[in-house]
Symmetry: C2
Subunit: 384 residues, 2 copies
């Protein structure tokens, strides 16, 4: 390669950049764009304006928030669409170019829907977003990428581990641990990137709302869509995780970090399928966990049936359960109907104490889960 071809290499970066503007003057490039990309934009009334160069295409569609929008060709192969007003928060989305479902090269990708998906954030106000926004005036924890060996799976795995700012400054202090799970077809990166968990933890610890804690985010073995693994039964989906968390992850974390290792100081929470996995893990291991959170959890059996017969009867003796599980948090968005309200009602009817939280105006998406997390972390590791 000579010098000229070195610079020719850079042209690969510029395919996505040949797309320029004439649209609503109030529209601003999304915060989730790749560097220098002017599109997608977000209008003052929260419409997305999407644009891509597809010179020879016959049909280009943007698929976002459950609706497909046909994009319009300007006659020179630049396609544009403006959506309806979108709900605030982050959304996965895709383009369809002559039937091929692909990413928008102008947006950053995050892991969701079983692959690296295009991602756009429709911003809240600064005040609404404060709890998940970096604050330069508070101390900041770190998120550590840790590789470890799984004896169960006989391979290396990776987890993300948040340590609070004071962890470095108190070299003998031990901390409680929250295990925090993503949803179906997401992975261990979700809470760090889409969930903004480090900012939420930093802000809650700095304000004194939450106690300093370690947060562990691992892969729930459900990082693909159910149905894409040939022959897999529904009850097998993500089920291999239960042995891994108990036999590999918790021992690794307790051996590597300065943790408090008793059940009073161990919590677990998860979103959607991770909420289902949280119930399956914690209810079968009451000796290991004392705080539990479900954020839009896919715990359909609890919504449907007599809870006293479920999970090997753990809810049958409500007084015993309430004395053991200090926090049982059930959160959901108002614009989804995954049964969380019914789960909560059924548990309460059986005498089980819960914290119920309804996120107003949000759906089965990450803004609901940021809010749930922000409500959950102040509750735990306090009521021993």
């Amino acid at each position: 390669m000579n010098t000229k071809s070195f610079f020719a290499l850079l042209l690969c970066a510029m395919g996505a950049m040949t797309v320029y503007a004439q649209d609503a003057v109030d529209a601003k490039p999304a915060s989730t764009n790749v560097p220098m990309a002017q599109y997608p934009k977000v209008t003052a009334d929260n419409r997305g304006v999407f644009r891509i160069s597809a010179p020879k295409a016959q049909e280009v569609v943007v698929d976002i928030c459950g609706k497909k929008y046909n994009m319009t060709n300007d006659g020179q192969g630049v396609w544009t669409a403006t959506t309806d007003p979108l709900v605030v928060g982050p959304h996965y989305y895709a383009l369809e170019i002559d039937g091929a479902r692909v990413n928008d090269p102008s947006s950053r990708t995050v892991y969701g829907c079983g692959l690296d998906m295009s991602y756009i954030e429709i911003p809240e106000t600064a005040e609404e977003a404060a709890y998940y926004t970096y604050n330069k005036d508070v101390q900041h924890g770190q998120v550590r990428l840790c590789q470890y060996w799984s004896n169960v799976e006989q391979k290396q795995r990776q987890c993300y581990v948040y340590t609070p700012a004071e962890y470095e400054q108190n070299p003998t202090k031990r901390y409680p641990v929250l295990y925090l799970q993503h949803g179906m077809a997401e992975n261990e990166t979700g809470w760090h990137i889409q969930g903004r968990m480090a900012n939420i933890m930093d802000n809650n610890i700095a304000s004194g709302k939450a106690v300093p804690m370690i947060v562990v985010m691992d892969n729930g073995n459900c990082d693909y869509g159910f149905g894409s693994k040939p022959g897999e039964q529904f009850n097998e989906f993500g089920a291999s995780f239960y042995k891994v968390i108990v036999e590999d992850i918790i021992p690794y974390i307790d051996a590597t970090f300065r943790t408090l290792t008793d059940r009073e100081n161990r919590a677990m929470a998860g979103l959607s399928w991770g909420g289902f996995q949280t119930f399956n893990t914690t209810m079968a291991n009451i000796d290991k966990f004392s705080h539990v959170g479900s954020f839009s959890g896919a715990i359909f059996s609890l919504a449907a049936g007599d809870v006293k017969t479920l999970y090997d009867g753990v809810f049958a003796d409500a007084d015993k359960f309430n004395s053991q599980i200090h926090t049982l948090f059930i959160g959901t968005g108002s614009e989804e109907n995954l049964g969380s309200q019914k789960v909560n009602d059924n548990l309460n009817a059986a005498g089980i104490k819960t914290h119920f939280y309804l996120s107003e105006g949000t759906a089965h998406e990450w803004l609901t889960w940021r809010r749930c997390f922000n409500q959950f972390v102040p509750l735990i590791f306090k009521n021993k």
Copy 2:
């Protein structure tokens, strides 16, 4: 959202999965595929087999390793191409679907070329790959994602910081620091993901070849392609980084980690444009650095001219320079010609001592830089 639409959500994950196999029996799914994706595959002779569903497309192309391959429609909208044998190591690549340059939804993305690019790794043998492969029998460091406030830029920035395994076990020990930069249109994630730096460090430390050190990977303010920022002059590209590394990054790292803060214990290296930035940073701050590495560095002036007049004459007194800079490493791939051999010759002709390394059979890509890094880290922080 009801339960049925919850499962409908999952269908988004499956667009990329509707593509099945009938090809060379020896071809295996690439390690860089998204979960469950059968394509791309790599044949025994290192050809890539790419496949995508694009039912209404007229023309689909895969662009990899500097060559475009037309894909063939099976008559039902599934397009396939098999490439020539590809050089081993990781490659960025793209698809062009009716002229739209996009990612392959079946591959993981990494940040390169100014956006989240499709990525495929053509594997080396296990023996060749051992130095950058996870080894369960050695101790593992951590890579910490750290947000900090930049006074220079008045915004938060993010860096990746590798700490060696023993960092946790020696709570008062201080460590030397290597600052390690990515190339043009890449970012602070590159060395961790494409570069496999944590595995390379773990293996070098475990074998005793390298001393335990902290490695800092930050964004060089050149994470887009030159030319995509309107009006920017070439001498401005990435130049804002020099003030940031000296005034923000080094003070933040020294305040946050247990570092050795004298020049004897601070090194800097970078690849391609990051090599250019490394020379600009270190040669202007000899009081702060004593080990320097350029991996395929874009240091064209050193290849072209009388080195004694460059960098404010830092090379004019060779004895002085050689006594101050303990390691000056110049590495390159044999299949690129960015002038590194000439840089090395010119420096040697001026009496400057160097370590020259040629990676056989590799180009201006990450396998060259993994190898350079593996050669470089055993040299530094030893010859005080």
